[in-house]
């Protein structure tokens, strides 16, 4: 994608010069706080992880009961179905309090959770990252959809109701180690830097946490940046 090719330096070069001294101090401070474990932060670099989160819900048809009419899966996946395990350590799904153990923790990819139910509600999804990535969590909210809005005929057990949201996790000024580790990771968009790193890039073939061969992958929505850009470009043409 376009941003991965962009050199990192021009990013707000003018603006950052004024802030530099302060930010340097901040960087050192947090390094101290994190002890020697973490390396320097790469200034004016951002690592970006395109993700898709959402739900797929199947109607149970004849097997449906009053309290369990749908089987649904909530998940967080890479936008191109790459393994997110290199960045995300753990995902916590907070379900409706009427579920047993409504706080569900998924410790390894693929980060997904299946349940049966009858009602729609908002699922809070908290992403926790590996220690070298970010100490803070990121909260997402997704509204579970069981019933299609554009009522295209009666409910079917074959065709699920899919609701997905595309977004990008942005890590500004990432740690050097993190950058080196995920630089070539397919799930991650990181600018190419002339940084000589002694940290080996992660072996990509080792893990199998991607969702490429996911049983439900046929229902995944393909989010096209190009379409969106074309639409915007057309709109801008009209305005100018």
């Amino acid at each position: 994608m376009a941003e991965s090719e962009m050199p990192p330096q021009p990013q707000g070069a003018n603006d950052s010069s004024a802030l530099k001294p302060q930010r340097l101090k901040i960087t050192r401070f947090s390094d101290d706080a994190d002890k020697k474990m973490l390396s320097k932060r790469l200034k004016d670099v951002e690592i970006c992880v395109p993700i898709v989160y959402g739900t797929i819900a199947f109607w149970l048809g004849r097997k449906a009961t009053e309290t369990q009419s749908h089987k649904w899966t909530v998940y967080v996946r890479g936008a191109t179905n790459e393994d997110l395990g290199g960045v995300i350590k753990r995902v916590v799904f907070q379900l409706h309090p009427s579920f047993n153990n409504p706080v569900r923790v998924v410790e390894s990819p693929p980060f997904e959770l299946s349940e049966c139910g009858w009602g729609e509600f908002e699922i809070a999804i908290s992403l926790f990252f590996h220690n070298d990535v970010c100490e803070k969590q990121l909260d997402l909210y997704h509204h579970l959809k069981l019933y299609s809005e554009d009522d295209s005929g009666p409910q079917s057990t074959k065709k699920p109701v899919v609701k997905e949201t595309y977004n990008e996790i942005v890590f500004p000024d990432p740690f050097e180690d993190f950058y080196a580790r995920v630089q070539k990771h397919p799930a991650v968009i990181a600018p190419r830097l002339p940084v000589a790193s002694n940290v080996p890039s992660e072996d990509l073939n080792e893990k199998k946490g991607d969702t490429k061969d996911h049983p439900m992958s046929q229902w995944f929505i393909n989010f096209s940046e190009a379409d969106e850009l074309l639409k915007l470009a057309a709109a801008r043409q009209q305005i100018l």
């Binding site: 994608m1 376009a2 941003e3 962009m6 021009p10 990013q11 707000g12 003018n14 603006d15 950052s16 004024a18 802030l19 302060q22 930010r23 101090k25 901040i26 401070f29 947090s30 706080a33 951002e46 970006c48 395109p50 990252f129 990535v133 970010c134 100490e135 803070k136 990121l138 997402l140 595309y166 977004n167 990008e168 996790i169 942005v170 890590f171 500004p172 000024d173 989010f223 096209s224 940046e225 379409d227 969106e228 850009l229 639409k231 915007l232 470009a233 709109a235 801008r236 043409q237 009209q238 305005i239 100018l240």
Partner: protein, 451 residues
């Protein structure tokens, strides 16, 4: 232990059912304090609350207190008023103490103040007071009227034979008086404390003051509400900036939280600057300081969602616009078939989205400005320009009315912005842009007519 213990007030009685009677038996000094357990309103009924201003002169009260054995009568007596020059004899009721009527002048005579209007000689006029805008006759007339009406300039302006504004009259009067005072003084230092010299009349400021006051007084309720909104928004932004600045300076570990808080309010801009190479116009609409603070706040979050950054940036871009304008921007987006929130918010998409919003905002501002200028210029010519593409004329006309108070500063910025962008876009892109669509060739011409 409560406040009463500390103050040494006895506790008994006050909390009983009859606090009001309790109060009356107390010495007046005690009654100054409102005891708890009594509501302010009830307490006020007892007369316990001191008035803001003394309604009666204290000395008067003291005198009355000791004049128990005085014999007071009221008599219908004649009096003279030194403020009058015609010796008119009038009568009024007079308070007579022990049979001795009060002596001295009529008590209201002292309020008859008159102004000492400076008199100048012909010689002085020739020497110090000549002014191309004023003839000697006019100046003489002015000073006559000033004396006659004791500097009531509104009245003077009304009587003045030639067309002069109140400000012009005041300016002439005060500058003449000032010149004479200075000229007659043995040295400039002697009159430096004279009010006429110390605080000269400032015509332009006075005109501006009245204009502003007039504007303020003719504000509609709606405009007032809008102004309050804008001010509140500005306050929020400055506060958020302050917090961010403070957090940067103190370097506390809570930095990220503050950053987040600040970023909620202000405007984030992570995509904007990084896309400068792609979209040069973004620098024009993005003040560097705002960008910097927004970037700093985002950076301090350590991790955020792309859509969050976009939201902040959209807020930043429209921080100068009113709610109504923002609504219109969104309406325009919808008319163009663009999602208010991009479905695939990649960095590039967000940057484009933001640019589009900014461009729409600029367009709307220019339309507004154009209509304002039109309305201001000639009322009969309107209609020809209100027909802006994509906007119903009525709506835009109303918008123009609402924005009549648009400050000249922001208007000129809008023009400048546009001018810059126009130049940039014209340069290399013109040949390829021109034939692409009829709408395109139409719009720029429209813009030009506003300049």
């Amino acid at each position: 232990m409560d406040a009463k213990d500390i103050l040494g007030i006895p506790k008994n009685g006050l909390h009983s059912g009859l606090p009001i009677q309790e109060k009356k038996s107390k010495p007046p000094k005690e009654s100054q304090r409102k005891p708890d357990g009594i509501s302010r309103e009830v307490y006020a009924l007892t007369g316990g609350l001191a008035p803001l201003m003394p309604a009666v002169d204290v000395n008067q009260l003291k005198r009355k207190a000791k004049s128990d054995n005085e014999k007071i009568t009221w008599q219908w007596l004649p009096f003279t008023n030194s403020a009058r020059k015609d010796n008119l004899q009038l009568y009024h009721w007079v308070r007579v103490v022990n049979g001795i009527p009060p002596t001295g002048d009529y008590s209201f005579a002292k309020f008859n103040k008159s102004v000492d209007v400076i008199k100048y000689t012909d010689e002085e006029y020739e020497k110090y007071l000549t002014d191309p805008a004023w003839t000697k006759e006019e100046t003489d007339q002015l000073f006559d009227l000033c004396e006659r009406f004791d500097l009531r300039f509104i009245v003077i302006a009304d009587r003045f034979p030639s067309e002069k504004t109140v400000e012009e009259l005041k300016d002439r009067y005060y500058s003449v008086s000032r010149a004479i005072v200075i000229a007659r003084a043995p040295s400039p230092g002697d009159v430096s404390g004279h009010p006429l010299v110390k605080e000269p009349y400032n015509v332009s400021q006075e005109i501006e003051r009245k204009r502003a006051l007039n504007l303020l007084l003719s504000h509609s309720k709606h405009q007032e509400r809008r102004d309050v909104e804008v001010l509140a928004q500005a306050k929020r932004i400055t506060e958020a900036r302050k917090t961010i600045k403070a957090s940067q300076e103190s370097k506390l570990p809570v930095i990220s939280d503050i950053g987040q808080l600040g970023a909620d309010r202000i405007t984030a801009d992570a995509v904007g600057p990084s896309t400068n190479s792609q979209f040069p116009s973004s620098t024009v609409t993005n003040p560097a300081s705002e960008t910097a603070s927004v970037m700093a706040s985002l950076r301090m979050m350590r991790v955020y969602l792309r859509t969050y950054a976009l939201e902040q940036m959209v807020q930043a871009a429209s921080s100068s616009a009113g709610l109504r304008t923002i609504k219109r921007v969104e309406q325009t987006l919808q008319d163009l078939g663009v999602n208010l929130k991009p479905k695939v918010p990649t960095k590039a998409v967000c940057a484009e989205h933001l640019e589009l919003r900014k461009e729409i905002l600029t367009l709307l501002n220019l339309q507004k400005q154009l209509q304002y200028k039109e309305a201001e210029g000639s009322s009969h010519r309107d209609g020809s320009y209100t027909e802006t593409p994509g906007t119903p004329p009525k709506q835009s006309q109303r918008a123009a009315d609402l924005d009549r108070t648009f400050t000249p500063d922001s208007l000129s910025i809008g023009v400048e912005k546009f001018g810059k962008r126009e130049q940039k876009r014209k340069g290399p892109g013109r040949s390829s842009d021109a034939p692409s669509s009829p709408a395109q060739s139409k719009r720029p011409r429209k813009f030009k007519s506003s300049d």
